[in-house]
Symmetry: C2
Subunit: 350 residues, 2 copies
DNA sequence: TTTAGCACTCCGAGCAAGCGAGTGCGAAGC
DNA sequence: GCTTCGCACTCGCTTGCTCGGAGTGCTAAA
């Protein structure tokens, strides 16, 4: 848990910082030097701890709510703790099994599986959890079926690797037969099946449609269908566990709660929070002001990607008070992500 | 606003009750006899009002939080107010227009329209609003397309009148050709198109499939596809506006809030709240204990159906403190329901 | 450099007093 | 006979106060 020098802190300072953060996470009370020496065997007296704490405060790792109160970690303090001081946690075998069992309850439908994982994670983590649905443009195209409704109208149905059927109605200028549509469907399937949805670009779609002898209107309909499948520009988000936030003493203040509820409903904002974590292949933690909003300044966010095959397609996140058990939540999120990734194969259209 | 006798109350008692409820809804403070006579021109003195209030309390219409506090309406008081005393409200032309305009922002996709209407209603009503998605079994069946994937597997896609495509994968015991599937699709469409989904019963589906020369496995796949479309046994619910509840003084107490957030996440409970309103063709109001749960005892629920064609297919609801402006919220819910009903035609598969 | 001792600060719980709003009731008034 | 006035009483809420506890920082000694 400790090297000789961490982030410019000597061994003892680092240990004291770790202990303060640990204790504060556990109790939620500002931690004072005496309490610390009594509860943990630090090998030095409270006066020494006091001096060290004063240094840590000067270095920006700790803060004092007011004179004559104990110390509380600052963003930087948490950051150092998360990056260098805490001991990572692993889930036990029985916990893994429990997660797997509960995930099995969901039917093999994409939405249900995602929702189930957000519910599960929210409950296990005792915090607000949310899960982005798989990004549609990272999915691959499986089938399109153009269905004849009337001489000049039809429905296009697109099936992707995760079975998400998107549908769009279209109207044409010229009469067509059901056979025409079948022919075009087959041609599209032959050419594009297996490609990533984002690689089914407008130009190739148009070219293929025309080469089958259809006009601009049909080409536009085909493009629209693919755009509809691809352009759910920001994936849906399933959130769960907001009620747990009420248990946290930091939410006595109702205004904070309101910010959170508002954000929950604006999926846009919620999505922005995790959006940049998309680029990182591993877990990421954002602490306090790192979330980029004063409203969220005393919250932290743990984000873990889940995969479909090799590709990261979505994110599981936990939003909670800065004072959250980071190691534990990272373990829970990773465990859930893993199980979610596995279950995605149950809905895969092969 | 007033007959001579209302619910066993003489004219003056009824008027005083109405005024108390009105004032309490406006201020949230227990209302006393003096305050009432000062603010409203009752034509009698506070002492008389006091006597009347004592009677109303004895009759169960009012309650006293404690001696030396003003009166507060009881469930029965609100009930009488809603049923007989309040003057119904209508939306102004400009408000209607605003609602219509905002609903236009949503794309012509069922889910988006429903979500938009819950967002809109939540914002306008300043309370938690939720909207059930159209019950699938009241929708009519439009098209089924069985898509060939491999010799022994395929996808069945069902399109209903509101365009909700449900899809299900199937596996068969015997090889089939794409043409076989098209033939069966056409047969199913010819027979069932236009029927209510709930009238596409297992027996007729099986019979038709077999009469086309397919085996038990194919019949089972067809049944499963229709069941999947029909059996979303409890429709999804889109909720919005929880943060407004925080503005209400009655939610200072955090426990109440927790109950609500919990209920919000358990769609089951939320659905149960409006389920019996489904039978009523008009607006319904549930007050306090009428919601059937101690947790919700100081809330009220306004529910209004929306239609697709002639048929009521879903509900818009507003959940808020018992102390809610009933007439206004009923008007808002009705107005939104109307606009939602109109917009449903934009997604209709004709 | 660490520790012991000490004066000082500040928060928050607990208590008492005073205020204000409201009630109920008996007696007087229309 | 209903309505009103006057009055004593109740009760919760706010304000101000005290006091204890926890914690700090500083100084001097080990």
């Amino acid at each position: 848990m400790m090297e000789n020098e961490v982030d410019g802190l000597d061994k003892r300072k680092a240990y004291i910082l770790a202990t303060v953060v640990y204790e504060y996470i556990a109790t939620g009370e500002p931690v004072g030097s005496q309490a610390l020496t009594q509860k943990y065997n630090l090998g030095v007296s409270s006066a020494t701890v006091r001096n060290e704490m004063a240094d840590l405060e000067a270095g920006g790792y700790l803060e004092q709510p007011h004179t004559s109160a104990g110390r509380v970690p600052s963003d930087a303090g948490y950051r150092t703790y998360v990056d260098a001081l805490m001991s990572p946690e692993e889930l036990g075998a029985d916990e893994r099994r429990r997660i797997r069992d509960e995930m099995r309850d969901a039917r093999a439908q994409l939405d249900e599986i995602v929702e189930q994982s957000s519910r599960l994670l929210g409950r296990l983590a005792g915090n607000l959890a949310f899960v982005t649905k798989p990004q549609s443009d990272t999915q691959s195209f499986r089938y399109v079926q153009l269905i004849w409704i009337a001489e000049r109208s039809g429905i296009a149905i697109i099936v992707t690797s995760l079975g998400v059927a998107s549908q769009s109605l279209f109207e044409l200028r010229n009469d067509l037969s059901p056979d025409d549509l079948t022919r075009l469907s087959n041609a599209l399937n032959a050419t594009f099946a297996g490609r990533l949805l984002r690689d089914c670009d407008d130009r190739s779609l148009t070219a293929l449609t025309k080469s089958c002898g259809f006009g601009d209107d049909m080409a536009a309909a085909v493009r629209a269908a693919f755009i509809g499948a691809r352009t759910q520009e920001q994936p849906g988000i399933s959130a769960s566990g907001a009620q747990h936030l009420l248990d946290q003493p930091e939410f006595r203040d109702v205004r904070k709660l309101r910010s959170i509820l508002r954000i929950l409903e604006e999926q846009r904002t919620l999505y922005d929070l995790v959006a940049d974590a998309f680029d990182s292949p591993t877990a990421s933690v954002k602490i306090g002001h790192e979330l980029g909003s004063e409203e969220l300044a005393d919250l932290s966010l743990v984000t873990v990607p889940y995969r479909f095959g090799e590709r990261a397609v979505g994110m599981l996140s936990i939003l909670g008070p800065r004072r959250m058990p980071y190691a534990r939540l990272l373990a829970l999120a990773s465990g859930t992500a893993e199980t979610l990734s596995e279950r995605l194969h149950d809905v895969e259209v092969k």
